[in-house]
Subunit: 370 residues, 2 copies
C-alpha cells in the first residue's frame, strides 16, 4: 500500500481521517510516541503498540550519528531493525541542529556541525538528509529545515522561510518520487504573514503532508496557538497536517480543533520517567509520599496495563526504590493517556461532538496540576 | 489450594515435580527470578510470566525497610501489590544481614543492624522475620538464619548451625501452622559433617521444604557442588529442596542431577543489565562492536520476545546509546534461557534422559564464555 490520506469526518476545522502507509493504517488525529534513537524510551514495541499508538517517530540525525543509517539499512530498515512493525516517521534533524546550535553553522548549502557524540565534523545538505532517511526507510520522511528559536528577529525569520523553501525544493528533487512520503515543514517564527508565505510556497511543491515546525522552541502555549491559527488555513485540506513537538493535552485539543492531524512530543515518556502521570484531572506526581498507601490505580477507569495491574502505592515504591519498572509503567500509562485523548477526539469529531468533548476534557484537566 | 509438593518422575537423584501453592502450581526443577524490592529489575510481571517463570522471589528484609511490610499488607499482600498473580517466595534477609555484616551484630536473640537506607537501628528476631513475612504474604517464607561467609572457622560454623536450628524452632513456633509454607535453611559452611548435622536437626522439625543456604558466599563452584552433595542425602525426598543464590547454568545442571528442585539467582537479570546474554553456547557480550551489523537474534532458535523480534545489531545499539530497553530485552532473554534450561531438564528427567541432556548442554555451554 502506498501513502494516502483520507478524511472521514470534519467538525468545524477539526478533522478525523485515515493515514495509509506501506506499514499499515493510522487513524487521525494521532499522537506519535517519540523513539529518538530507535526506541521509545523504557518501552518495548509491544508495550507501545498496546498503548494504542499507531505510528512512531524516530530521529534521522541521531540514527545517522549512531549507529549509522547504513547499519539500519543493512538490517532491513528501521521497522525490522527496531521491531516496530507499523508506520514510522523520521524527523530529519533540523530541530536537533537548531537545539545544538552552538555546534552548528547554517548556510544555504546546508548545516555544518559537530557530532554530539565525538565532536567529529559533519556536513549535512538537504540532499544528505533525504539520502539518510531513504536508508533508514521510514514511511514518512521530513526535509531538512532551517529551524529558528524564540524570540527571533524578523530578518532571520524571513531567511529561515526562504531557506526552508529552497531546501524543500532540493529535498523534493532528491526524493525524486521515491516510495516514502515526503512532508514539508512550515517556518516563519511568530510572524503571521511569514507563516502564510512559508505555507503557500511549500504548498506549491505539492508534498505528501505539511508540518508546522519551529514551535516548542520557547515561545509558550499562547504563541503556539497563534502560529497554528496563522498557518493551518493556508494548508491544503486533503493533506495531513503535523504539529511538531507539541505538547500538553490542552494544546493537543486546541490544535485538533484548529485542524491538526498529527502530533509528536517527548512529554508523555519524559514525564513518565520523572514520575509524573497524566490523568483526566491533571498531573499525579507519583513520587509524592501521599501515594505511599494508596491502593488505587494512577487513574481510575484507565484501561492501560499499569492501571489495570498496579496501585499508586506500588508505583511510588518503584520510584522511591530506584526500580526502572516505575519509569516503564508511568511512561506506558502516559502514552495510553495521549492515545485515549486522540481516540476520544476522533470519536467525538465523527459524532459531531468534538466541541463538547474538548470543553469537558479541558474543564477537568487543570484540576490537579500545580 | 494449600501447599503441596508431588514428585512426578526421578532419574537417579534428579527429580521432576509439581509444587502447589495458594497462588498456583509450579513445575520443578524451577528457576525463580529475583525481585528483591518487589520488582524483577527492568521487567514487568507480564514479561516475567512470558519468560516461562513460574514463581518469583522477593526479599522481606528489603521490603520491611522500604516501603514497610504493613504498606504491602495494606494493599492486599505482595502478589496484589506487585502485580505478580502467581506463586511467590520471600527470603527472610539472613543473607542480606550477612552481606551487610559490618552494620550488623548477631546474637542468639536475633540481629541488630542499621538500615542500609537511613542508618536507623533495627533489631530483628526470628519471630520478627516470620511476622514481617506474614504481613508480606508470599506463599513460601524462609526463617531467619545465621548465614556465615567463606572461609569460615569451624567453631563459627558450628555456632551458625546451632543458632540456625534454634531460630528455625522459634520460627516454627511463631509460624504456628500459618497458611504459608515455612522452609528451613541448612547451614554448616564447607564442613560436610556440619551440613549433615544441620540438615538432620532441621528435618526433625518437619518443615514444608529445605533450602541449602550459606552458599554463593565466595566459596566457588567446586565447593558449592561439594556442599550440595554433602547435604541433599539428609533431606527428606518428599519435600522440595532449594539451593539459594545459585547460579550459572552449569551449576544448575549439576544441582538438578544432585536432587535440587528450586533455584534463585540475580545472574540472569544482573548480567542482562550489563549486556551479557546467556546462550546454549555460552555468553554473548552484546556491547561488543562485532555485533554492530549482525542481523541475527541473540540466540538462534530461542522463542523469547527478544530473539523473535530483535537483532544483535539493534540490541548492541540500545546499550551503546544508553537506551534502557536494552537492559530489559537482554534480561528477558536471560530469564527465558534459564526457564528453558529448567524446562528441558524436567522433560529429560520425565523421559529418563537427563544424563544425556545435561552432558549435551554442558558440552556446548563453555564454547563462547571467555
Amino acid at each position: 500500500m502506498s501513502f494516502e490520506f483520507e478524511l472521514t469526518a470534519t467538525e468545524g476545522a477539526a478533522r478525523a481521517g485515515v493515514l495509509s502507509t506501506p506499514h499499515g493504517q493510522v487513524k487521525t488525529p494521532t499522537f506519535m510516541p517519540v523513539g529518538t534513537q530507535g526506541s521509545v524510551k523504557c518501552l518495548s514495541p509491544g508495550q507501545v503498540r498496546r498503548s494504542g499508538a499507531g505510528i512512531v517517530l524516530a530521529n534521522a540525525y541521531h540514527l545517522m550519528i549512531r549507529p549509522g543509517a547504513e547499519v539500519v539499512a543493512g538490517c532491513g530498515g528501521i521497522q525490522d531493525w527496531c521491531g516496530w512493525r507499523g508506520p514510522m516517521l523520521t524527523d530529519s534533524g533540523g530541530y536537533q541542529l537548531f537545539s545544538l546550535a552552538e555546534l552548528a553553522r547554517v548556510s544555504d548549502e546546508g548545516v555544518e556541525f559537530r557530532s554530539h557524540i565525538d565532536g567529529a565534523p559533519i556536513f549535512m545538505s538537504p540532499e544528505d538528509a533525504i539520502g539518510v532517511q531513504k536508508l533508514i526507510g521510514a514511511d514518512i520522511i521530513m526535509p531538512l529545515d532551517d529551524c529558528v528559536g524564540f524570540p527571533i528577529e524578523r530578518r532571520r525569520a524571513e531567511k529561515s522561510v526562504a531557506r526552508t523553501l529552497l531546501w524543500a525544493r532540493r529535498s523534493k528533487a532528491a526524493h525524486a518520487g521515491g516510495s516514502q512520503a515526503l512532508f514539508a515543514i512550515v517556518q516563519g517564527g511568530t510572524y503571521h504573514d511569514l507563516r502564510r508565505e512559508s505555507a503557500e510556497g511549500l504548498v506549491e511543491l505539492d508534498l505528501a503532508g505539511y508540518a508546522v515546525g519551529g514551535v516548542s522552541v520557547g515561545e509558550g502555549t499562547s504563541l503556539i496557538r497563534e502560529i497554528v491559527e496563522a498557518t493551518v488555513p493556508y494548508l491544503p485540506p486533503q493533506r495531513p497536517r503535523y504539529l511538531m513537538g507539541v505538547g500538553p493535552p490542552e494544546d493537543l485539543l486546541f490544535a485538533v480543533a484548529a485542524g491538526i492531524d498529527m502530533f509528536d512530543c517527548v512529554m508523555p515518556t519524559r514525564n513518565g520517567r520523572n514520575g509524573w502521570a497524566f490523568t483526566a484531572d491533571g498531573i499525579v506526581k507519583v513520587k509524592n509520599s501521599l501515594h505511599a498507601r494508596e491502593c488505587v490505580p494512577l487513574e481510575e477507569g484507565c484501561d492501560c496495563y499499569t492501571c489495570v495491574n498496579f496501585t499508586r502505592s506500588y508505583l511510588r515504591h518503584l520510584f522511591n526504590a530506584g526500580e526502572m519498572l516505575g519509569m516503564t509503567l508511568v511512561s506506558l500509562h502516559n502514552l495510553r493517556f495521549f492515545a485515549r485523548l486522540m481516540e476520544g477526539a476522533r470519536d467525538a469529531i465523527t459524532r459531531g461532538a468534538f466541541g463538547a468533548y474538548s470543553r469537558a476534557a479541558l474543564g477537568r484537566l487543570g484540576r490537579l496540576t500545580d
